[in-house]
């Protein structure tokens, strides 16, 4: 079956040449202003200089997915694992919008598997049949919870858990080791972030049970016990898991931990750069582009806000090439 992606992988190999390397990221980090960064990016054929930064990122994201649709037109659902997060984000936004008067432009993310209008309509009319079966129950429960309790955080937690569970299952369903690892990493790190936040804010064991999604690299019950006991207990539990490397970052800040998660993902996909067969190199390219966009966004935001270069270097991610 790997043979069916030979053309696609060869195209991806050519496209990898235009990915931003560590050297370009260093150059961007060292640039004096946001305008200088935009100039460097423009020289690398990255982004439209006439567009505001956020629109430029959206354009770059669209370019990635247009290429993937061209290369894998009959098997796009295999990449749903990357797009489900946007669906659940849109569900959250739609539920909150339906409970607050008025229209709030810019709260929805493009590029999910379900059209935003379908989600909005389903939530607005409380008729969830248009949504996938896996999303119906959580959509209904989250909306009812928000209407009854006005607790936005609880609503978010319910949807986040469902999203993590779905992403992990979608990764497993593909049968592709890279996508399975991606789903597992997203789910596990999502759980760790939730556990740390809950520990810091003193959330109950009952809350944690609702918030943590099952995954295979973490014992969710043990993590919930640890989070209920405090941050030190979470760190002590993680020390015995495959995420022990992340403890220093967790102690530092959530931002450092997120950087560790992204770097771990890049480490996971790096072997794909030498793989000429299968869906792996295509999936790796999507993640590499995503990582690239995320890194450039951090750099431009830092330049806009006058963050020193040393602080910026601590925040930028490792690159795929």
């Amino acid at each position: 079956m790997a043979e069916q992606y030979i053309y696609a992988v060869a195209r991806i190999r050519s496209r990898e040449l235009s990915l931003l390397s560590e050297a370009v990221i260093s150059q961007l980090s060292a640039a004096a202003t946001e305008e200088d960064c935009r100039r460097i990016l423009n020289e690398k054929n990255w982004g439209n200089p006439d567009l505001p930064s956020e629109e430029m990122f959206q354009e770059e994201n669209k370019k990635t997915w247009a290429l993937i649709r061209e290369l894998v037109p009959n098997n796009m659902q295999i990449f749903d694992v990357f797009r489900l997060e946007k669906d659940y984000h849109n569900l959250k936004a739609a539920i909150k919008e339906s409970c607050i008067d008025g229209i709030h432009p810019g709260i929805f993310a493009e590029g999910g598997t379900i059209p935003v209008k379908d989600i909005q309509q389903a939530v607005e009319e409380s008729d969830y049949d248009a949504l996938p079966e896996t999303m119906r129950q959580v959509a209904q429960d989250a909306k009812e919870t928000l209407l009854q309790t006005r607790d936005g955080q609880l609503c978010d937690v319910m949807i986040d858990r469902a999203a993590l569970e779905e992403i992990r299952k979608a990764g497993e369903k593909t049968g592709e080791p890279l996508l399975r690892d991606y789903g597992e990493l997203v789910c596990a790190t999502g759980n760790i972030k939730t556990a740390v936040r809950a520990a810091k804010t003193g959330k109950s064991r009952q809350f944690l049970e609702k918030a943590l999604a099952p995954c295979s690299t973490l014992d969710v019950a043990a993590l919930a016990d640890a989070a209920a006991a405090g941050t030190d207990a979470v760190v002590a539990y993680l020390d015995h898991t495959v995420y022990a490397d992340a403890i220093d970052e967790l102690n530092e800040s959530v931002a450092s931990f997120e950087r560790w998660c992204d770097n771990r993902m890049i480490e996971t996909i790096k072997p794909q750069i030498h793989n000429p067969f299968g869906i792996g190199p295509i999936a790796a390219y999507i993640l590499a582009r995503d990582n690239e966009i995320k890194t450039v966004r951090i750099i431009l935001a830092a330049k806009r806000n006058g963050l020193p270069e040393e602080m910026l270097r601590e925040r930028v991610r490792e690159m795929y090439v």
């Binding site: 053309y7 060869a10 195209r11 496209r15 000429p276």
Partner: protein, 161 residues
């Protein structure tokens, strides 16, 4: 018509058929990779074409063995030994076996190696020279099988005479 001649002819036919199938696969997959590499960089056409063609040689070797075998048993050029013994026919068939077995397998592996090397060239064009070596190594075993089949067919012809 003797059963011996049927076996000898089957050996020649299978040599051409299996080698052709292997080469078709190898050239096919390498062609897909070449097309992918050339889509964004058409300048790679000549380099990737050479890499694509490498797995095509096994088909030629199979054809060569088929020709030699057919001419030795007289199917080509007239004078076929219609009374060929079963033993002689089986010997011709056995002589074709290295090509029947090795050529398709080597062509498929060479095709996959070419795919990997096309990826290498599309990343770094200057590695073209080196990239030719890797698929060429697979060719070694196709040539060894070809040599043994040629020697064996002529050897069987000598025995039959």
């Amino acid at each position: 018509m003797s059963i011996g001649l049927v076996f000898a002819l089957a050996g020649a036919a299978l040599a051409a058929a299996t080698s052709g199938m292997g080469s078709a696969y190898g050239v096919g997959v390498a062609g897909q990779a070449a097309a992918g590499a050339c889509t964004d960089n058409p300048d790679l056409f000549s380099k990737t074409l050479i890499l694509q063609l490498l797995p095509g040689t096994q088909g030629i070797y199979g054809l060569l063995i088929a020709f030699i075998c057919l001419s030795q048993i007289g199917i080509m050029g007239g004078g076929a030994d219609t009374a060929m013994s079963l033993g002689t026919g089986l010997l011709y068939f056995a002589a074709c076996l290295p090509v029947i077995i090795v050529e398709p397998i080597s062509a498929m592996h060479q095709g996959r190696t070419s795919v990997a090397c096309i990826a290498m060239v599309s990343k770094k064009e200057e590695t073209f020279g080196k990239s030719m070596i890797f698929p060429a190594m697979v060719e070694t075993y196709a040539i060894l099988a070809l040599l043994i089949s040629i020697l064996a067919i002529f050897g069987v012809s000598g025995l039959a005479a």
